[in-house]
């Protein structure tokens, strides 16, 4: 589990990139926190720099769009999903639980 930032430091509509390998993007979508792989599945672009609208983030380069809840692309040019990661808020700090870690801990 990786600490990201204080909850109050990620207001609604904002996002932050976590320098894990591979990097993860954490979003505050109208109060709900989501984490997905940061690199667009289409081409090298950072989704944390994308445009957030509801639960969808639009890639800043080619306007591929992903659903933060599922990681699934909602339109071309992306065709592959990005991974989603579980998020928890403990004592006001956002943590990301990388899917690979979850697997190895099980």
């Amino acid at each position: 589990m990786i600490p990201v930032c204080r909850l109050e430091d990620l207001p609604a509509g904002e996002s932050v990139r976590v320098e894990t390998t591979p990097p993860v993007a954490v979003f505050n979508a109208d109060g709900e926190i989501f984490a997905i792989d940061d690199t667009c599945s289409h081409q090298d672009a950072s989704l944390s720099e994308g445009w957030l609208e509801g639960c969808l983030v639009e890639c800043p380069l080619h306007a591929a769009s992903f659903d933060l809840r599922t990681g699934l692309p909602t339109c071309l040019p992306a065709r592959r999903a990005v991974r989603t990661h579980r998020v928890s808020v403990d004592d006001g700090t956002i943590h990301v639980h990388l899917v690979a870690e979850e697997g190895s801990a099980a």
């Binding site: 081409q43 090298d44 672009a45 445009w51 800043p60 380069l61 071309l76 040019p77 592959r80």
Partner: protein, 385 residues
Amino acid sequence: MRTITVVGASLAGLYAARELRARGYDGRLVIIGDEPHPPYDRPPLSKDFLSGKAGEDQLALCDDEETDELAVEWLLGVRARGLDARGRSVLLEDGRTVVSDGVVIATGASARRLPGPSLAGVHTLRTLDDARALRTELAAGPQRVVVIGGGFIGAETASSCVALGHDVTVVEAAPLPLLPQLGPDMAAVCAALHARGGAELVTGTGVAALYGDASVRGVELADGRLLPADVVVVGIGAAPNTAWLAGSTLALDDGVLCDDGCVTGLAQVVAVGDVARVGAVRAEHWTSATEQPRVAVGNLLAGRTAETVRPLPYFWSDQYGSRIQFAGRRRHDDTVRILEGSTEEGSFLAAYEREGHTTAVLAVNRPRPFTRMRRGLPAAVPAAA
């Protein structure tokens, strides 16, 4: 329609095929491509592919699953050489004919070359085969590379060559690269990226000749200077691939002339991508190639111009670690205002303005505010207005 033929197997052609199937067209679908490769994405060729960060497998535009879904009859590695007067028969250079009820022209553009005999070591960068050849030559150790043309292909190629450890000079005939696209102030900012990134930029002089025997040894500039070179990359633009249509009844003038709905003079022939001059504008942009097919295919199936494109020009470039993004329609006397960041720090957002309105937006390393601004720009009034 029972058979639709797409001539061109790159981005725009593939998007047309996707759109046809998405709209429920379940007839025979033929795609003709002059390159032997299935559709691949060209933008990475001058960037991650050239620098070795991405392999060929990462260029594919279509995976196996989609290839199955599209149910396309692929005719790859064969060039179209004609379209009959009624626009029904596509003639192939191997003598075959494909008879169709509808044709999508997506033959793209070809890299312009310098006149004169061809020398080893001189490259263009447009196709996968071009990129393979250049990549192989650059892998032979540090070399003196001269890039002719300071546009996006030239700048990105220069940037990749610097990253690979080569000694790079970029030659631009105009006083500054990207002058028509960005205007003098912002073109100067982008030109500075070359020096900052470690390449030399020579402006305001054209190329007189390449010299060498079998292989290139250098570039002679119009002002008399000689630039020694082991490798020369020619990035001086692209010309639309319309020669094969010379015997057709279609109007050709710097591209295939279409109305605002990508429809040519024949209702069952549409054109998309780099080869198409849609409503008087030919845009060699990735986004045009992905947006036009939706409208073009809708009109093809409708048999008339029922929809028109509403383009908002957008292009981007990655060079020397900077991401440049531009959207909108700048006119030569628009004023430029920096809204965020600064040119000194290499990260900024700039708006082009005219009579209190934003006409275009440019960002260097500011993707989020760029997207916000881009979304606020009006999607077009025809560009000629």
